[in-house]
Each structure stands twice: as structure tokens, then as C-alpha cells.
């Protein structure tokens, strides 16, 4: 029973807890290490106040990373999320200037996010274009649209009863409103991905799209849904960001897509598709937030945040690669031993 030699490179659906735990356990260990390290750098690190601050800094990245994880599991990608964030902020600002109420503006922004996602979906599923190329294009296009909508100006007179949703904690707790939003989305997507048939189909598409299509999975429809979800959530992130900063600008979110992809990759989601969990992404986000907070509070220069994050990412990509090679080398050796043993047949 040479189970290992025949195992496919991508285990589509983690059946056993032990397999699931490998990557996530590693990230968890790194989180603990960071918490220890951070508390050594500053005695203000392990406080509820700091948790509130640090988690807010990564809230928008977290929101966008969760749907992106699902997209990457289907072996696609969406790099336009940060530009949708900017477009959403621009629309929010422009409609506010025009006198609309926030209750009316928010659904419009979300709808525009959904439309942006739908356009991405159309290009990828109907026109058959590679999502990398499409979303690099829409990344630029949506940012341009944002600048057309709002121009260079900033809109700043949002009322306190709305901006508090951006940076205040839920009364009585140290949990900021945006984090509650992230938690809701994480739980929702975790249930979707790991406990529904749709989730299994998403993994199947990533593992082998052709086979998935032939087994009756509606690949195009699922991918379209995921892109629309990504766009909508990115627009939501734009609203949260604008409320947190109490201002709206067209250039908000520039460069965020890199942090979002970093969180997804660090979370153990394979770029090739078919592998990854929401838990991994959540842990990766916690790790990235903790590192940023530890270094900032510890008065370490901001360049080190970039260096450490980059190093982690490289390790995240190299790691599985190395493990795979070691496994193959071992299997090869085992096969060689099997074949070279004297055969009693014939």
C-alpha cells in the first residue's frame, strides 16, 4: 500500500485534523512567538487597548483577504480589490457632497463593488481571459474611475455617529466594530467553504477544473459568484476605511492588494489552487497584525515591518516546496529499494 507515492500533490479537502493542523499550527506557533517577542519590546503590547489599535490597522486587509482566499483556491486571483476600495471611497465622498444620507450611500457603494466584481467575472468566465491579466487591468481602470468620480479632493465632514463605526469599540468590549465585521465574514466563509457542498465544489475547481466541469460542477457560475463577492467586500472595506479615517479620497487603498495577497499566501492557500483554509488566512492576518504592532510599539523602524513580512512570505512559498521535494526524494528512495529487491517471480 504505497499510499504516499501515489498521493496527488494537492489534497483537495483536508479530511483529517492532523493534516489540516500542519500549516496552521506553524502559523500559530509564530503568533505565540511574536506575542512573546512583542511583549519583550514593549510592556504596552499585550494590552486590550493595543489589541483594539492593532486590529483596526489590519481590518480592511482582513476583509478583502477572506473572499480572495476563496478565489485563489479556485486557482484564480483578484488584484483589483484595493482599487475597488478606492472607488467605493470616492463614490462615498461624492454622494456625500451631493447631500445623500449615509444610509442611502452605503448600499450604492456595495452595489458598485458588486458590479466591479461582475465585470471581472465576465472577463474571466465568459471571455476566458486569465484572471491575473484581467484584474491587473481592472486594478488600473477602477482606480482611474475613482479619480474621475472624486478628483483630487478629500471629503471630510462625516458625522460622528457614522465614523464611530470605523474606529470605536463595541461598547463594553475592546473589540472594534470593523473587527466584529471581519469575524462575521470569517465565520460565514468558513462555514461556506468547509461545511457546504459549494465549498467542496470550490476546492474541486481548484484541484482540477476540467474534472470538476465534467462532474457537473457549475464552474463559471461559482467563479462569477466569488468575484462578485470579492468586489462587494472590497467596497465594504472602502466604506470602513473611509469611516475610520473620517475622510474619503480616490487614492485610498493604493498598494493594499499586496498586503491582501500576502495574507492569503501566508495563510497556506496555494497559488495553484485546491488548497487552503479560512483558519489559515485568519491566523496569517493575526500574525501580520501582531508583527506590525510589535515592531511599531517597540520603536523599531518601519522598514523592518516590510523586511520581516517579505521574509515570511518567501518562507511561506519555499516551505511547502521544500517539503514536497523531501517527500518525493523519500518516495523515490523507497521505490528504488522496492525495485532493487530480488524478485521471487518467474
Amino acid at each position: 500500500m504505497s499510499a504516499n507515492a501515489g498521493a496527488s500533490a494537492a489534497r483537495a479537502y483536508p479530511r483529517r485534523l492532523s493534516e489540516l493542523a500542519r500549516w496552521e499550527a506553524l502559523i500559530f506557533v509564530l503568533i505565540v512567538a511574536t506575542l512573546i517577542f512583542g511583549s519583550g519590546l514593549s510592556d504596552r503590547f499585550l494590552t486590550l487597548t493595543n489589541f483594539s489599535f492593532a486590529s483596526k490597522d489590519i481590518a480592511e486587509i482582513a476583509l478583502m483577504a477572506l473572499p480572495l482566499a476563496l478565489i485563489v483556491i479556485t486557482a484564480e486571483i483578484d488584484l483589483s480589490v484595493a482599487s475597488v476600495l478606492g472607488l467605493s471611497s470616492a463614490v462615498l465622498g461624492e454622494l456625500w457632497l451631493a447631500g445623500w444620507s449615509m444610509e442611502a450611500i452605503i448600499p450604492v457603494c456595495l452595489a458598485i463593488g458588486a458590479l466591479c466584481g461582475a465585470f471581472n467575472a465576465f472577463c474571466v468566465t465568459r471571455l476566458g481571459l486569465p484572471s491575473l491579466a484581467v484584474t491587473i487591468g481592472t486594478l488600473t481602470m477602477y482606480r482611474g474611475l475613482a479619480l474621475v468620480v472624486l478628483g483630487d479632493q478629500g471629503v471630510t465632514d462625516f458625522p460622528a455617529e457614522w465614523t464611530r463605526f470605523g474606529f470605536e469599540d463595541i461598547p463594553g468590549t475592546s473589540i472594534p466594530y470593523p473587527i466584529a465585521l471581519v469575524a462575521l465574514l470569517a465565520v460565514g466563509l468558513a462555514v461556506l467553504l468547509h461545511a457546504t457542498r459549494l465549498g467542496r465544489e470550490i476546492y474541486a475547481i481548484g484541484a482540477n477544473e476540467e474534472a470538476a466541469r465534467f462532474s457537473g460542477i457549475r464552474v463559471k457560475r461559482i467563479k462569477s459568484m466569488l468575484f462578485v463577492l470579492s468586489g462587494t467586500v472590497a467596497a465594504l472595506a472602502g466604506i470602513v476605511y473611509s469611516l475610520r479615517l473620517a475622510s474619503a479620497r480616490a487614492n485610498y487603498g493604493e498598494g493594499f492588494e499586496l498586503s491582501v495577497v500576502a495574507a492569503v499566501v501566508l495563510g497556506g492557500v496555494s497559488i495553484f489552487g485546491g488548497k487552503g483554509t479560512i483558519l489559515g488566512v485568519v491566523l496569517a492576518l493575526i500574525l501580520l497584525g501582531a508583527i506590525r504592532s510589535a515592531l511599531t510599539l517597540g520603536d523599531v523602524s518601519q522598514e523592518w515591518v516590510l523586511i520581516v513580512t517579505g521574509a515570511l512570505l518567501i518562507a511561506a512559498v519555499l516551505g511547502p516546496n521544500l517539503v514536497q521535494r523531501v517527500r518525493e526524494a523519500r518516495a523515490h528512495r523507497r521505490d528504488r529499494d522496492t525495485w532493487s529487491a530480488p524478485s521471487g517471480e518467474g
Binding site: F28, F51, D57, F167, A186, A190, I278, T296, Q302, L306
Partner: protein, 357 residues
């Protein structure tokens, strides 16, 4: 697979983030609650002096900007003179929210004063207000934050004076004060550049500048490469361009580098705000005739003294109050908490050799 064995991994999946969060919060609760009262500064001295051991944090728009490094060197100079401790923390990019974690950290650490050159006047406001509630004195310099989020703003020269000087210079240098001009600014959200540009646009409506036409405002984002490319773009889009005003030291250096030594040298005037050291070669070669600035170190120096006096509660930022600023003498606070350093200095071939920054 039956639904049972699929549900178990899911429960475990949901359990682990709950565990992680619970662990973090438990550790945090044990670690103690920061009730926001971090400032232990010795503000007991009511005699007009400034207490020793002040902790001052200064935050530039972005790391790696030579002008800002000189400016914050002035903060260091003043803080050392006052017997305090200076900490320089900057973001790696000039985005609107990049300074927020640094402001939060300063508030959490309970420093005495925070001096900031804001990337975006409003985006940093909630964070600054929260820091102020923790007992940190907030001083803005160079690039202002919204007035309700800071006590004092150190303006290097009056906003009008800076805008007017640049229009005067371009008019002096462009033949007959007639032709198309463009502005090469920093980022689109920068408070200071935007304020100066507004003044420049108003100036251009005056009778004596009627020959000049502002055709475009380009944004180089205070990035050398982008500014270089934007200059190229301007010259391609407007072949008859007579002059470029760059109210940012990174922009003017990049524009001068593009134009001097190219066929456009002598045809297109480059002026604006620059540091003598960066612009020396262009002035010596005759390519750039005149530009302006002030001593950025003095800006930082004045800001630190203002911050120290705020902490010592000698001043509160009200109009008419005065305070001592070391070697710069006495300063009075103007409207809206603004303190003006002095008039801008113009640099040209005659005097550029006298300066080293």
C-alpha cells in the same frame, strides 16, 4: 462521507480561531489594561521653564526624504538642548493612513509630545485626538493637520508668502512673464502643497500675472522617479511650456535633473522650493536661476520648543500667547494656533554658497 464526519473538522476549525482569540484576550487582560493615562510627564513647573526629561516623538510624512531629515534634525537639536529624549518614527510610504499606527503607538507609550508633518490633514485626525486624550501634546509642522486635532501648527513661512514668492520667481524668470506654466506637486492629499497651490492660483488671477497660464498640476508623489517621469510627461503634453513650479524639494530636484542637460535647458524655467545642497549643481551651471526655501532645521527646532512649552502648560495654543524658542527668540501664536517661522529665503548664484543643507 456522512455528514457527521464532515461536521467534526468544521467544529474544530471554528474552535481554533476562538481559542486563539481567547488566548490573546486573556493574555491581554493579564497584561493589564492601558487606561489611557500614560503620560507621566513632569508638568509641575509653572514658572515658564520647561521640565527635564521630556519625551518627544516626531513623525515625518515619509522616511527617506532629505528635507524632512534636516527638519527633524532640528527637533533633535532642540530636544537635546532641553534635556529631553527625541524619537523619530516615520512610515515607509506617504499614504493617508500610514502614520496612524505610529500616532497610536506614541499615545500608548505615553510620550509627552508628538510633532507631526501630516500626510493627510483629516485621516490622521481621529488618531491624533485619541492621543491627545491620553495626555500627549500635539504639534503639527510643515504639513498641517486639521486645526481641531492639534494645538499648534508651525508654518515655515506664511502660506501666502510661500505661494506669492513662487509666482514672483516664475514671473521674473519667464521671458516677458508670459506663457504656459505647470506645477509639479507632491502627493494629491498633502496639506502644505495644496495650500500653497491655492494661493498660487489666486495670485495668477491678478493683473500683473495675466500673461501666465497655468496649464496643469502634476503629482510626483514626492517620489524621485515619478517626479522625473511627470516632468517628462508635462513637456510632451505641452511643448510650449515656459516654466515649471515645483513646491517640493523632491520634485524640483527631479525636474531640474530632467531639464538641465536636455534640449529644454534654457527654454523651460525650473523654480519652486528646493534645498541648496540638492540644487547647487543646477544653479552653478546656470540652468536654474532662483528658487526658495527656509531653514528646515529651524522649523523642527521651533516645533520642539512649542511642544515643550505646551507640555509645561506655559501655553495652550491660543492666539496671542508667546513662548521662548531657544536661539530663535520669542514667538507669538497667531490665529488658529499657527506660528510662522519667518519669510522664505530665495537662493541664487549669489548666496547659495552660504548654506549647507
Amino acid at each position: 462521507m456522512t455528514s457527521n464526519s464532515q461536521r467534526r473538522p468544521v467544529l474544530r476549525l471554528l474552535l481554533i480561531p476562538v481559542l486563539v482569540l481567547g488566548l490573546a484576550l486573556a493574555v491581554a487582560a493579564c497584561g493589564g489594561d492601558d487606561d489611557g493615562n500614560g503620560s507621566e510627564s513632569a508638568a509641575e513647573n509653572g514658572e515658564g521653564g520647561v521640565p527635564e526629561g521630556l519625551e518627544i516623538v516626531s513623525i515625518p510624512k515619509q522616511l527617506g526624504n532629505p528635507y524632512e531629515e534636516v527638519e527633524h534634525g532640528g527637533v533633535e537639536e532642540a530636544t537635546t538642548e532641553l534635556g529631553g529624549e527625541h524619537s523619530y518614527e516615520g512610515p515607509t510610504d506617504a499614504g493617508a493612513s500610514s502614520q496612524v499606527p505610529l500616532i497610536n503607538a506614541a499615545g500608548q507609550q505615553g510620550v509627552d509630545a508628538l510633532i507631526i508633518a501630516a500626510n493627510d490633514p483629516n485621516a490622521v485626525c481621529p488618531a491624533l485626538q485619541q492621543a491627545e486624550q491620553s495626555g500627549v501634546a500635539i504639534v503639527a509642522m510643515d504639513s498641517d493637520a486639521a486645526p481641531e486635532c492639534r494645538s499648534i501648527f508651525i508654518n515655515q513661512a506664511s502660506t501666502e508668502g510661500i505661494g506669492q514668492a513662487q509666482i514672483e520667481m516664475i514671473c521674473d524668470q519667464v521671458p516677458d512673464c508670459e506663457g504656459e506654466i505647470a506645477i509639479l506637486s507632491a502627493t494629491a492629499n498633502a496639506t502644505n502643497q495644496n495650500a500653497w497651490i491655492e494661493v498660487m492660483e489666486q495670485e495668477l488671477e491678478k493683473e500683473e500675472y495675466s500673461g501666465l497660464e497655468l496649464v496643469e498640476i502634476a503629482y510626483g508623489d514626492d517620489d524621485d522617479q515619478k517626479s522625473f517621469q511627470e516632468t517628462q510627461g508635462l513637456l510632451q503634453a505641452y511643448p510650449d511650456l515656459q516654466g515649471i513650479i515645483a513646491p517640493t524639494t523632491v520634485g524640483i530636484a527631479a525636474a531640474a535633473r530632467f531639464i538641465c542637460g536636455s534640449p529644454n535647458e534654457g527654454e523651460v524655467v525650473v523654480t519652486g522650493l528646493g534645498t541648496p545642497n540638492q540644487m547647487r549643481q543646477f544653479v552653478d551651471s546656470g540652468c536654474v536661476e532662483e528658487f526658495a526655501l527656509w531653514n528646515p532645521a529651524d522649523v523642527g527646532y521651533l516645533a520642539a520648543h512649542a511642544a515643550a512649552n505646551l507640555t509645561a502648560e506655559n501655553i495652550t495654543g491660543e492666539e496671542g500667547e508667546t513662548f521662548e524658542a531657544g536661539r530663535l527668540g520669542e514667538y507669538e501664536i497667531g490665529a488658529d494656533g499657527e506660528v510662522i517661522l519667518g519669510p522664505p529665503t530665495r537662493f541664487n548664484q549669489e548666496n547659495i554658497g552660504d548654506f549647507d543643507f
